[in-house]
């Protein structure tokens, strides 16, 4: 696969797989402590210049997403246009990091973003439930990669995880990683269904050991999606993994991040937990559909001093 002009330059894909971590290898999470610390990130004061920089940075970190039964070729093309040029008339904004679509739409998206640095991500492995035999799920990954996807967002089998079949999760992530080839693998933990921070931490540790390039909170299809505390738990897992192995893993909160203010709080958290090294779209992404316009509206607000209206922005 040729690297696109100006594309995000990932380091050579690491196929390094670490041994299966047992539950005891993962620390127990202090729920109250995590929630309090996450709350403190919301109280940082950002001055205007920083805010504008952060808003523009957030736009470049977007995985502009459409995952609906009603997705059509036309809609995906339109969304790709928006990802490439989020604010027509202002080339300093964007482009977004990637577009995220179902495997059937990958071909359309690849054509639409050709020649731009925007990557194409595909959800696979029977997104969003993951309730299918591994063989078919891997076939789906290969199909999406064959269509030209640069990144694969897989879901883990939460049912098996909750049944205690941890090794099955490790194996399926490793198998997906292999099926991805040169494509990057994002592992969706669906934290809303894992129910406890301890589970989230263990699932993160396992996914990273099995070769995940990114860990991602949610599918966006269950009521409880990304939250600051759950992202904090995952960021700490990434930090510990990096210290232990020297391998950087990316983070992608997805679902429920619908306004710019919240997005900035995430950026503050990443900066304070992992450091500035992670503050690029190579290591941090937002999975969102409605966040794009709110970011653009806030950028325009900072420029013009006027609170903006959705009427003046493209609806993708």
């Amino acid at each position: 696969m040729l690297l696109k002009e100006g594309a995000i330059r990932f380091p050579v894909v690491s196929n390094e797989v670490f041994p299966f971590p047992t539950r005891r290898d993962s620390p127990v999470i202090d729920q109250v402590g995590v929630e309090e610390r996450a709350q403190r990130f919301c109280a940082r004061s950002l001055k205007k210049e920083t805010k504008v920089t952060a808003l523009k940075l957030a736009v470049t970190m977007l995985d502009v997403t459409t995952l609906e039964g009603a997705d059509s070729v036309g809609k995906v093309r339109q969304m790709c246009q928006k990802a490439m040029r989020p604010l027509p008339g202002d080339p300093s904004v964007g482009p977004a990091a990637a577009v995220c679509v179902y495997p059937r739409m990958v071909g359309t998206a690849v054509k639409a973003v050709q020649g731009s640095p925007v990557q194409v991500a595909a959800v696979a492995t029977q997104f969003p439930s993951g309730q299918m035999r591994l063989k078919e799920r891997l076939d789906e990954v290969r199909y999406a990669v064959g269509e030209g996807a640069d990144e694969i967002d897989m879901v883990i089998s939460r049912g098996q995880f909750l049944q205690g079949e941890y090794r099955a999760i490790y194996d399926e992530v490793a198998a997906c990683k292999e099926a991805c080839g040169k494509a990057h693998l994002k592992v969706i933990l669906e934290t809303g269904e894992l129910t406890t921070y301890d589970n989230v931490r263990y699932a993160s540790d396992m996914a990273m050991a099995a070769g995940a390039d990114f860990i991602k909170t949610s599918t966006g299809k269950v009521p409880i999606a990304a939250t600051l505390p759950v992202t904090l738990v995952m960021l700490q897992a990434i930090e510990d993994f990096y210290e232990r192995t020297g391998r950087m893993v990316g983070m992608k909160p997805a679902g429920g991040i619908s306004n710019a203010k919240l997005a900035l709080q995430y950026l503050v958290m990443v900066r304070e937990v992992l450091g500035a090294k992670w503050l690029t779209n190579q290591w941090f992404r937002f999975g969102a559909s409605s966040l794009t316009n709110d970011l653009l509206m806030q950028i325009r607000k900072q420029e013009t001093g006027r609170y903006q209206s959705g009427d003046y922005f493209t609806q993708d």
Binding site: Y307, S309, D311
Partner: protein
Amino acid sequence: MSNLSIPKTYKLFIGGKFPRTESGRILEIRGAKGAFLANASRASRKDFRNAVVVSRKAAGAWAKSTAYLKGQILYRIAEVLAGRSSQFEAELTAQGSSNAEADVAGAIALLVHYAGWSDKYQALFSSVNPVASPHFNFSVPEPTGVVSTVAPADGSLTGLVSVMAPVLVGGNSQVILTSGKILSAISFAEVLATSDVPAGVVNILTGMRDELVPEFAKHMDVNALLLCSDDDAEKKAVELEAAENLKRVSLQADKALSPSPYHILDFQEIKTTWHPVGV
């Protein structure tokens, strides 16, 4: 009966809730003779922004609700207000009003007046237009959307209701700024909250005119503006700012609006339909 005297903190009314201002600032409300009456919230730009967001969300459903329902709800506001008239009279008197009783009665009468208009102004302002082609051509009024309203500064209840009711019955959602004598405005919000007015359709902010009026005119997601003012410089500034997104602007004298269906028309868009006529 309790002998406890519990001084009330007057908060804002946004989205059917009574939040404090996010800025944490207060206004001290003093009576006619300078005695301390209460603390009220001093709304900020951000409070206004939040109010517009909920207003926009509420606008669609309110515009679509039937004329019958709108009339019922306006009448219900009058009913609830009548039941609490003594509280309003006491508050207005404490703020220096000399004819509080007439003020409250006038507000109730205005609500009933506009309740009656709810299913009639459409017929009055619609028309069938003669055209020189085989079309049935007709024009009907439709709600403008989100309206920002600056209430008269005299603090009278009639003044507040006279600007709120025509905008409300026309199917718009609104954010109202009251300043100066504001006790009865927030008590009136309590009436709205218990009168089946959908959350977010009417929002009331208390604050400083200098600070908020420019924002009322600037916000791109506001479709129209009603300003009661006698200050020519203020009016001009508002018109200039409002031009940016072509807000519909209604400039009125700084006193209660007299009841008239034309105040409803001020916040309506006229939609014209060309319908082909068959042979």
